[in-house]
Amino acid sequence: MNHFPRWAWAPFAVGIAFLAVPIAAMFARVPWSQLPALLASDRSRDALRLSLVTCFSTTVLVLVLGVPLALVIARSSLRWVRWLRTLVTVPMVLPPVVAGLALLVALGRRGLLGSHLHAWGIDIGFTTTAVVIAQTFVALPYLVVSLEGALRSAGARYEAVAANLGASPSRVFWHVTVPIAAPAIASGTALSFARALGEFGATLTFAGSLQGTTRTLPLEIYLLRESDSDLALALSVVLIAVAIIIVAISTKLSSRPTSRTPSIASDGGLNHV
């Protein structure tokens, strides 16, 4: 017995087609035979290498900052910390171009902090570092939000037990909190990595588009889309492949038993307004 109205199959089919057709169209157009040669070209190797380097750097940064950040938000009883929970989600809903502009205003050469850094001889804007910063800015919330939720629903009972057994707060963190939250950390990290890999607007605005320095895969694909659409499609295939791998890993890691979502009763009736 299916607990949904039969007409739901119609939007279901349209929705699946809507999502699948563009991907299928792309795969149909990809020049598969030239793929190795296309990916071996200078421009694509630069873009691939840069995306790989920046995304891994971003992932490390996201883990180092994000796990303790999520822990503090989940466990602290201070009221202002609870308000920060909302603040952390802002970069998730911010248009990426606006995020890039915000970073430019803060860290650019004439920015709030950037002008001081410039005085010390440090310029961040339009460097590979800027790419990592832009990616971290938009990707960090994905780890924090998913991990914070997992930590909060798990509660602090195991931590309390460990403390009573004599474990210092740091030992509790490394030997209890992190191992127990490992699936949530892993799936949150995968999400952040995927978000960093696809990052376009903030990177373009804050870091620009210099081949080999700041021009990551999405930027290169955008530039090539008209001049060399074969190469653009080849690079897109790489992005899609990575995305599929990440989604698979993330699903596998977060496939712990979760509470079933309650079925929504639908009477299909129309109310007079």
Partner: protein, 376 residues
């Protein structure tokens, strides 16, 4: 010199602490090697007491002393991991990512033991608990009883100064509770291990504890040997906990208390249990007194009955509840509550219903009288 030794013993754990957010003002002292059953109604402050000792809760005023050292007060607070206090809860809470052996080794390891020494200690503890064969299992491969036994082994593996149990058997299947209880009894009796056990089961108290601390309304209202408090329950909760009736009144003479003007209850005075010590008969008239008797000592009648050794009290039935082979009838008598166990046949024959007026006949030889404060 014996008194200085006594002082030392009493110094083991001294709680004199207030927690304003929970309306708790708790005072308790525990001697080394004592096993204290903490009993009381839900929300009375039993868990608050345990949390103060464990260090997960800080008093708003007052202090907690352990082994002569101040561990909690307004100015100092020793965090839980720097106390040597184990806390076993209803649920075993074994670390899901560690196997049974490493769960038990976690405490010694956290306290500085090497990996190998910690595992040896853990294995010894598991062997003593009868769990050595499960050492390599993950917690989700254990039954509820095995998991709770593991958590007891884990608690003991740190050689705690003090063991805290918060309803350790409440979440267990009734069929495994006796085995876990007897394990705990084996690990506690004949040792110098000091423990506090919160429980709602009289059997736990009798099997495990030396002393009862009775907590009601955020206060330790009584603390004394198990036999004494069970035989002479100071409050209604305690009386119901041990399954006897408790009536308050004032002493009207030898073997008699007055429940309310004109209503007297006769009984025996077990002098050995006289808490307030011998008092000249005359001086006791008008002093507060208590009477206890079992629910089986009452018989119910709808018309006046004879027989001089009985007390005959007018009562109103407030509640009737079948309980196995007997029927538990709750009565209101002289403004106080009583419980009588009668047969189903008697209920049918006398047509007992809530609201009905009856005469409760109580054998004087089954009634024990005590001196003690009136507690409404």
């Amino acid at each position: 010199m014996s008194s200085s030794r006594e002082d030392h013993r009493e110094d083991f754990l001294e709680i004199s602490a207030q927690v304003s957010s929970r309306h708790a003002d708790l005072n308790l002292s525990v001697a080394r090697g004592q096993v204290v059953a903490v009993v009381g109604p839900n929300g009375a402050g039993k868990s608050t007491l345990l949390q103060l000792v464990a260090g997960s809760l800080r008093p708003t005023s007052g202090r907690v002393m352990m082994l002569g050292r101040e561990v909690s007060s307004k100015s100092t607070h020793v965090p839980p991991h720097k106390r040597t206090v184990s806390y076993v809860e209803q649920r075993a809470l074994l670390f899901p990512h560690l196997n049974v052996l490493d769960n038990v080794a976690f405490g010694p390891r956290s306290r500085g033991a090497g990996k190998r020494a910690a595992r040896e200690r853990a294995l010894a503890e598991l062997t003593a608990t009868g769990l050595a064969e499960f050492a390599a299992r993950k917690p989700d491969q254990l039954s509820g009883g095995q998991a709770q036994r593991t958590s007891i082994a884990r608690a003991l593996a740190i050689d705690p100064d003090l063991l805290l149990f918060d309803e350790p058997f409440a979440a267990l299947d009734v069929s495994v509770t006796p085995a876990v209880r007897s394990l705990l009894r084996g690990r506690l009796s004949g040792t110098d291990q000091t423990a506090l056990i919160v429980t709602h089961e009289l059997l736990d108290v009798v099997a495990l504890a030396d002393v009862i601390a009775l907590v009601e309304d955020g206060r330790v209202v009584a603390c004394g040997p198990v036999a004494e408090l069970c035989a002479n329950p100071p409050t209604r909760f305690m009386a119901e906990f041990v399954g006897v009736n408790l009536l308050h009144g004032v002493v009207r003479g030898a073997g008699s208390i007055e429940l309310e003007p004109g209503v007297e209850l006769h009984g025996l005075e077990p002098n050995s249990l006289e808490l307030n010590g011998p008092v000249p008969d005359g001086a006791r008239i008008g002093a507060p007194g208590r009477a206890t008797f079992g629910p089986d000592a009452i018989s119910l009648h709808t018309s006046a009955v004879g027989g001089s050794p009985r007390n005959h009290l007018s009562a109103t039935i407030t509640h009737i509840e079948p309980r196995g082979a007997v029927v538990s009838v709750t009565l209101e008598c002289a403004g106080q509550r009583l419980r009588a166990h009668v047969t189903p046949e008697a209920v049918a024959e006398l047509d007992l219903l809530p609201g009905r007026e009856v005469i409760a006949a109580i054998k004087a030889s089954s009634v024990s009288l005590f001196a003690g404060p009136h507690k409404p």
